[in-house]
């Protein structure tokens, strides 16, 4: 029954942060003062949509913050490489490069799109699941919770027109 809270993780400034990849595939923190590496470190973007590359939060396994990195440039090159690789590997947000067509089927829209990850068919349940960000990008959320993003200005006119028809 006894389950004491794990000790608080150290608080580390960006410049002192040292992260390395462990043999089991996870990230670990090398505490600045030396000592046991802290395994199970996670990273997350604070503003994944509006400013993806600033304010990266580095946290321990229980979700407690170890470091808040306002700018990746403040990190040592090795740590920065590890964190950037991790951020890319843990994300899966395909970019829509062409919209072939959108069919309306009663409650569901079927989107037939080409993404930078390959062609895919999306089933979108509500009109609200297609919305435009302030910077003009369009975010599409499919029935399973997957996120897809398109930049209308980079699309061909036909795709742009279909996209424009679908979001307010």
């Amino acid at each position: 029954m006894k389950d004491k809270e794990k000790p608080e993780p150290p608080k580390v400034g960006p410049a002192d942060l040292s992260i390395r990849r462990e043999a089991d595939g996870g990230l670990a923190l090398l505490p600045p003062g030396g000592g046991e590496p802290l395994a199970g470190v996670r990273v997350a973007r604070c503003f994944p949509w509006t400013r993806p590359d600033s304010y990266i939060s580095v946290r321990d396994e229980a979700g407690r913050e170890i470091s808040l990195v306002p700018d990746l440039g403040e990190l040592t090159p090795d740590t920065r490489r590890e964190i950037e690789a991790e951020l890319v590997a843990q994300e899966f947000i395909p970019r829509i490069v062409a919209v072939h067509d959108v069919e309306d089927r009663f409650d569901v829209m079927i989107w037939n799109v080409e993404t930078d990850r390959g062609p895919v068919e999306l089933q979108v349940k509500n009109a609200e699941d297609v919305h435009q960000l302030d910077d003009g990008r369009v975010v599409v959320r499919d029935h399973a919770g997957g996120t897809f993003v398109a930049t209308p200005s980079e699309l061909d006119p036909r795709s742009r027109r279909i996209l424009d028809e679908r979001c307010g």
Binding site: K4, A23, D24, G25, F106, A144, G146, T147, G168
Partner: protein, 750 residues
Amino acid sequence: MVKFLKKRLAAATGPFGELPPGDVLEVSGGVKPCLFALADVLPSGAYGETWVLLYERELVLVRRAAGALSPAGRFELKTGLSVKIAEGAGGSRFRVVREGILAAELRFSIRQAKRFSKLLHVANARIEGNAEPIPQAGEGFVDEEKTCPKCRRLVPEWADSCPYCLHRRRILMRLASYTRRYPLLIGAGMGAAVAGTLLQLVPPKLTKVLINDVLTPSPHRNEGLLWPLVIVTAVVIVLRVALQKVRLKNLAVLSEYVTHDLRVAVFDHLQKLSLAYYSKKPTGGLISRITSDTDRLWDFIAFGVTEVVISLIVIVGAATVMFIEEPVLAALTLIPIPVSLVITAFHVRAMHSILGRLWAKWSNMTSVLSDVIPGARVVKAFTQEKRESGRFTNRSRVVADDAMNLHTEWTNYWPKLSLLLSAGTLIIWSYAGPRIVGGAFDLGSFVMFLGYVAMFYGPIEHLGMMNRMFQRATTSAHRVFSVLDTPPTIYTPHKTVPCGEFKGAVEFDRVSFSYDGIKRVLQNISFRVEPGEVIGLAGPSGGGKTTLINLICRFYDPVEGRVLVDGVDVRRRDLHELRRNIGVVLQEPYLFRGTVTENIAYGNPGASPGEIIEAAKAANAHDFIVGFPDGYDTMLGERGQTVSGGERQRLSIARAILCNPKLLILDEATSSVDSKTEMKIQEAIDRLVKGRTTIAIAHRLSTLRKAHRLMILDKGKLVEQGTHEELMAADGLYAGLHRTQSELHSLFAV
């Protein structure tokens, strides 16, 4: 091409069947796995295909690259091996670690997450040597989405069969079946419609006789026919108007009945549906199904259906008469028809897309309303009125701009069609004109013919409009039926276990739960509560306390394990009997628009005034209620907005107490009242809880002093349980929380 398509579909919908594809099965050894999942992302980030198959004793990976399958790993499930999921944004990674070394890492998108979550859980249990049962579909409420066997599309939860493959006609038939209950109305209405339309064919014929035999100066002119003809025409006109009245009246009444039936059926059915349904569907959408969709169906039944029927009769009738009387002219009349059909088809397509877009923009505009109106207080507090006005103005303008396209399309289509049909008339003129002048063709026949031509072209002009109405009505009907077709996931089974008197014992037997099928909000929880026991439930925010009581009330069913009340699985009990014996005060107390009395007596409308006052006193609400000018007859605003947060809580405590439940559940019931009031309520509850089982959730641990036993939930796990003293001695999470709160307390006491 076909292969490409198949691949795309596989990536899109995932392996939702019972078995992985046959070729994958073959490569893995040909035996049916316990569970399997598809890792649909390659290490590079592109879509790909790696299958993970879990067997009794091993985990097998099979990769498809360039169309060919190859084994990608085989791991024995034994100590030293572990599988993990590293969650990310939109996708996650599945890791197999052997003796601390990463042996395989697969990426998958969120689409596959449910499968992986299940697989991970079972695989780890197997590694530890537990014979973890495989979660079966349908056991917990979190289920795989169904896909249509024909088109491989996702079948929405509410549908039995794939709506894409369902023919539209079936929906109309279903709608028609609702009218069958009113045979007189539909008989009278349709009969009048048909008779009136056939009568319409008479006047041109009379005109012909009038012109040829009465008006044209000739030897066999028959002036005596003039008045009889005029009178017959008058009679026909009067009859037609009368029939029209009969038709409109009967059909309007019929559709009023039918839409009433539909509205009530939908509302009734919504009451039966489980909470999970409500949390998935936007409220506005559900409301509009009951209101505007049924309204659109009213229009369709009252006018649309007859419009179509009448048009068909007119077209067929007029054409028949035309071909019998003047075959050559009739053939000429058909010349503009193919072109108008093509124009109409394009028009219908354009309108469809414009309407769809307009609908999206419209809902975008109304979403500002449903967001901002209930939040008026926040808007004012942060002085953002201007910004909200601006937001609404922008979206309203977008709607207006788009509506312009609609009008443009419409106004472009009309003149084109008009011109075409007029051209048809001109063709007839230019063919018949010279012949009339030459005497080869009589004037009467010509005028009669023109009458039929006008009749024939009329419905064609309306074709576009009718089609649109038709489409909108089938869509509305579908939205309405889709609610009716949703089976409630939580219901009383056909065979309930008779339970005798309700005692209030609660037991959790290895219960796990997840709202979305991915994240486990409760993990393997087991405990027992004896009748009459008072349990305090505490723990960090988000720990799963509210979720736990949701399971006791059976708002949701566990994904794994059983919840027993008086020793009987709640899934085998009568649902209403269960809930009647449980009194709950929810974390967000909700009051309805109505008087204080009505709200307190909500669960027990027959309660006497004395009982209501007793309950209010117990909840320490009596004094403030009497303080209202209207006392117990005070009207509360929508959602109980007109009373304070603490008052709202006390009213809902009174409501729960009045039901005299054997099991009382208080979820943060006194969080918004001051300490003194809380103490008083606590005393009253202490008096009340004698002989009742009580489960009280509180963040202020002092509230839980009287509890016989405390249970601490953290991150979905039951981490500690015991008396206050035992938990303090154990020096765990509870002791920590308690210390912090005492420190705070003394801080304020100083």
